[in-house]
């Protein structure tokens, strides 16, 4: 089943440490030129997986194939992989140009061609004019660019990014996300990015994997994962999500009727996973909830609540609303046009509405595929 089109193929890879299993039977395939982001909370195993691909660590089980070749016995320095590290790991005793030239020298490129390649890649990251600066003479963003140029100058099969943007401030980080994407698309280099920043995962990738507790929870396009979370963890991890506890009262025509507190609402879920009476969690994203005045037939579900907190965020207003009907749990609601919709004071009673198709029901006891 191995095809040469796949740049990376990971088959049933596990990595166990003394007491913990950092990565548990991970599978993934990545086509040439794809940009994959692995996202998850810290300790979810994403960095361990990346280190095994880079060759700094070995799987205790399973196989890693790069270009169809099993790389188990290939040391890191013989793999054709460029990596950008979290702390960048630039060589402080070398100029930017020497940093970029380092892999070319180590990999024994023709010395006559090295200056030309260094120039090309420094230009690619728009640093041609700073070639002779040492890393400590460059700003954070510029160091970032040197690290990218160094990881790419030898034209590797694969580029690995180990949360290199996490240390930057928000504005620079968002700028660099687009910059990474531009460079990746310009060169067409297959890339695996690891991050705990869900926005980064959504913005940058063709393909996205959500990991938790060493297990790949869901693997798909960012849009598909965000709009159709596969389990409770993914639903809670992405976006600003409120959870309701309840039970199934009826299943009909592909829709679930769920009882939450004193109300019965419509939710969406995989029918095969449920039977009447099951205890469930229902996930609802803040941007899917509308603040409505009275009963509004456009929404399948509506409940009333009290505003507990109101936070002005410039481009939107965030309300924390305590919903008595569903047992007093709080939900977050975004209002992206507070000027038009009118503001609600703390303590005011409001009505919330949302549709069944954005109200995801998940079994409470998650059955992980092990």
């Amino acid at each position: 089943m191995s095809t040469a089109d796949n740049m990376v193929e990971i088959r049933q890879v596990s990595r166990a440490f003394d007491k913990t299993v950092a990565v548990n039977r991970a599978n993934l395939t990545l086509a040439q030129g794809d940009f994959l982001t692995i996202v998850g909370p810290s300790g979810c195993g994403k960095t361990t997986l990346l280190r095994m691909i880079a060759g700094f660590d070995e799987p205790t089980e399973g196989h890693i194939l790069i270009k169809g070749q099993n790389v188990e016995s290939v040391p890191a320095y013989q793999r054709s992989i460029g990596m950008v590290f979290q702390k960048l790991a630039l060589f402080p005793h070398m100029s930017a140009a020497d940093n970029v030239a380092f892999p070319l020298r180590m990999r024994r490129f023709n010395p006559a061609l090295i200056p030309e390649l260094v120039e090309k890649y420094l230009d690619l990251v728009k640093l041609g004019h700073l070639a002779n600066r040492r890393p400590h003479q460059l700003s954070g963003g510029q160091q970032q660019r040197v690290a990218i140029a160094r990881a790419l100058s030898f034209n590797p099969d694969l580029l690995l990014l180990d949360e290199p943007l996490s240390a930057l401030d928000k504005k620079l980080r968002e700028e660099m996300q687009l910059e990474f994407r531009r460079i990746q698309q310009e060169l067409g280099v297959t890339t695996i990015n690891v991050t705990h920043d869900q926005r980064e995962a959504l913005v940058m990738s063709d393909h996205m994997i959500v990991m938790d507790e060493g297990v790949i929870q869901q693997s798909n396009t960012p849009r598909e994962i965000y709009s159709r979370p596969g389990n409770r963890f993914v639903a809670g991890f992405l976006g600003v999500t409120s959870m309701f506890k309840g039970s199934v009262v009826a299943i009909e025509n592909g829709a679930l009727s769920v009882e939450l507190g004193t109300v019965t609402l419509l939710a969406r879920g995989n029918e095969q996973l449920f039977s009447v009476g099951d205890v469930i969690d229902c996930a609802l994203r803040a941007e899917q909830i509308a603040l409505i005045d009275t009963e509004d037939s456009r929404y399948d579900n509506s409940v009333s609540g009290l505003v507990r907190q109101r936070i002005y965020e410039g481009d939107r207003m965030v309300y924390e609303v305590q919903v008595e009907d569903t047992g007093g749990s709080s939900v977050y609601v975004f209002d992206h046009d507070p000027g038009k919709n009118g503001e609600h004071d703390v303590g005011a009673s409001v009505r919330l509405g949302w549709n069944a198709e954005v109200f995801y029901a998940f079994p409470v006891v998650e059955k992980r595929v092990l």
């Binding site: 040391p75 005793h93 180590m106 990999r107």
Partner: protein, 315 residues
Amino acid sequence: MTDLPKRTLDRLPLRWVLMDKIEAFASLVWPAKCHRTTGWLFLTPALLLVGILLIGLGYMLEYSLHELDLSSYRLKDAYTLGNYRYLLEQPVYLQVLLRTLLAASVVTLATLTLAFPYAYVMVRTSSSAWRKFLLVSLFLPFFIGQVVRAYGWLIILGKEGIINSALMSLGLPAMDLIYNYGAVVFGLVQYMLPFAVLLIVPAITAIGEDIELAAESLGANWLRAFWHVVLPMARPGLVGAGIVVFTLTMTDFAMPEILGGGTTDFIASAIYDSFFQLSNSGLGAALSIVLVTLGSILVAIVFRITGAGTLSIRQ
């Protein structure tokens, strides 16, 4: 808003009250406007110590310019460069000097070569048991002291020592393991190792593990990563350790005395002999001045080449 409890003096812990009183007293004695000079105040004792050393050095310089009057065994009043001329004329002093410098170079090289891997493993090992073992092994000799340690080596390496006894019980001829140059160098390397390791450790700690992984992922095998990345980045620590080991060796007295047994005198031994055997303080002072000058010049040259940034000092 709930009311915060009122601050009352009797509610505060005694230690706070005492500290407040001391601070109040201190601000009377040393008002806030004097605080700018506090740093200098604390510097004074150290400056005094260095100053006293300089005065002593001045006296030495003065002594070295007077020759010994053999009739009274006092220094003559007349100023002369006679002592320095004497040092140049007697080949034995040049020999001692060269022997000292050679030993210092060999010991420095050997110590750094042995200390670097020791420091590296101590920093990088993932086993804390190993780290502790290496650390304890490093510090243990410190508690013993140089002279006792040198005698320890006598017991092991001496004519009738442990090694020779073992050789003879095997029917092999005894070896001269002691009272020679090799023994002195050996003893000195063993003595200097902890100093060097302790000075190199921070330099290696400063090299993030990511840096080595980065070198590896960029195509450098272990040897190239070591040569192109680790070694250049550890240079400040190596130079610092080198200077300390070199100067300590150059001025060492106990090891050449005990393990050399009079066969391998260093400059310090010659200075000691001039003062206390020949009672010629002028000559001893001249030798001391030569030693100080030589040491200062060598350290100055190293700093000139590597930059004072070696000691992490801003330039």
